[in-house]
Symmetry: C2
Subunit: 246 residues, 2 copies
DNA sequence: CGAACTGTTGAATATCCTCAATTTCAGTGG
DNA sequence: CCACTGAAATTGAGGATATTCAACAGTTCG
């Protein structure tokens, strides 16, 4: 049985065995979604959140013009759909970019977790704040940098996230997105995304074959990217203590 | 003595008198900042969060190119600097757009609040998720819409936030931002921001005199804006119960 | 009255988009 | 094995939007 990877939490704090267990039993039995399946559509009532166990998904917002903006790429270990927790109707659409495995968590279970452990609420909060910083970075990226800078940032971000998730290798990774989808992440058209990709390729900074991306000059790519690395603070000192007993 | 407005929380849930009191005594004594003062610079160690009591401030990220992106405008009742809670060094700079009054909350006090009331952690979490949705909307706005659409969205967003905060009138409000700063919010240059503003003015959708903005045709402006209104869910059913006693 | 900041506009340029055509490739059915 | 199909990638050409550079006007402040 596939399990929800806990690295996203344990990046920030040491989980007690009890806490790890709470997370392990949080989700309902995992469900498989087909590539291109809609997991939840924006505007639908919010019934719960989702734990990404395997595959790639994304969260997107559709504008009246028909244009789509992908707001977050989701990899195994991510929690999906949580921003809409504070809304009655979902703000974003959750979409399977590849076949994927996802466990649903009804809000009642979230509540049970929260009643059981204040510390888990606080951990959840820390996790969400970290995601918020990531979004702030994206606003700065899209608002104030060129297509080239955006794409370079995209590459190193996805690569480093894959490495942390234990997927991907030192200098290469599989990117199961079409260029149109990459454009939807970066706020660019498909055509301009293609030109940007081809330019980096011609310059020898990257190479591609099918979905495989090879970073031929990671240092140069990093130099193009205008965003700093953010590292979560480990062992947050403002968390409540672990529960008195188990 | 000026007080921290609680509407941001009470928008989502009914605060018990004890909870309202916890928030009221959360901050240290308010401090006044001068217009253009830096409240906290990005990269500095994170020591606490801030409660906005009066005035306007913003949170911004500086890119190596020297360009700045304003990521959030802060009005009275907002909590500033919380995204960096999960980091050791602040991601964003907090900057006073006007003279303002702000109460500092050291992380130790945040921790005390959290240990005292799990429900307050969860409320805080809901608040943060709502902010996250706002950021997602901004990503979609900046990534996929025109200067005109961005500016129209900016106007109705600021106006509605001022109304909720009990500032501003039905069809007008004071906007103490330079056009350069508005450009930093919208991801545009000062020059193009100016042209965009002037265009709406020439078309009779808005009028201006000094910092005063008059919405001459709010419906038309709303029609230009591509983002939907988001309303926080009231009475979130996943919150832990209020503490058994006071 | 001069300095500094903000707003405003014109002209030239750059970046990115739209439209359109063509190529590549994986999957399907004959 | 090969044509056929549809999705995705690629490229050219022309156009739209936004930027850059530059100049100047209006305000505020000392």
């Amino acid at each position: 049985m596939p399990e929800f990877p806990l690295n996203r939490f344990s990046d920030m704090v040491e989980l007690s065995p009890e806490e790890a267990e709470m997370l392990r039993v949080l989700g309902e039995p995992p469900v498989r979604y087909r590539r291109h399946a809609v997991i939840r559509r924006e505007g639908e009532p919010v019934k719960g959140i989702y734990l990404m166990i395997a595959g790639w998904a994304c969260s997107s917002i559709m504008l009246p013009s028909g244009l789509r903006q992908i707001v977050k790429l989701h990899l195994p270990g991510d929690m999906l759909g949580t921003p809409s927790m504070a809304l009655s109707h979902a703000a974003d659409t959750l979409f399977a970019l590849t076949d994927c495995t996802i466990a649903f968590v009804p809000m009642a279970r979230v509540r049970a977790l929260f009643e059981q452990s204040p510390r888990m609420i606080a951990l959840f909060l820390a996790f969400v704040q970290y995601e918020r910083v990531a979004l702030m970075d994206i606003v700065a990226l899209i608002g104030r940098s060129s297509a080239r800078e955006r794409y370079a940032t995209f590459l190193i971000d996805v690569h480093s996230r894959l490495l942390r998730a234990g997927l991907g290798e030192e200098d290469r990774f599989e990117l199961p997105l079409t260029q149109e989808q990459i454009g939807d992440v970066l706020g660019l058209t498909m055509v301009h995304t293609n030109r940007t990709v081809r330019a980096l390729e011609r310059e020898g900074l990257i190479a591609r074959s099918g979905p495989l991306v090879i970073l031929r000059d990671p240092a140069a790519i990093r130099r193009i990217s205008p965003l700093p690395k953010r590292t979560p603070a480990f062992g947050l000192d403002w968390l409540p203590r672990a529960a008195a007993d188990g």
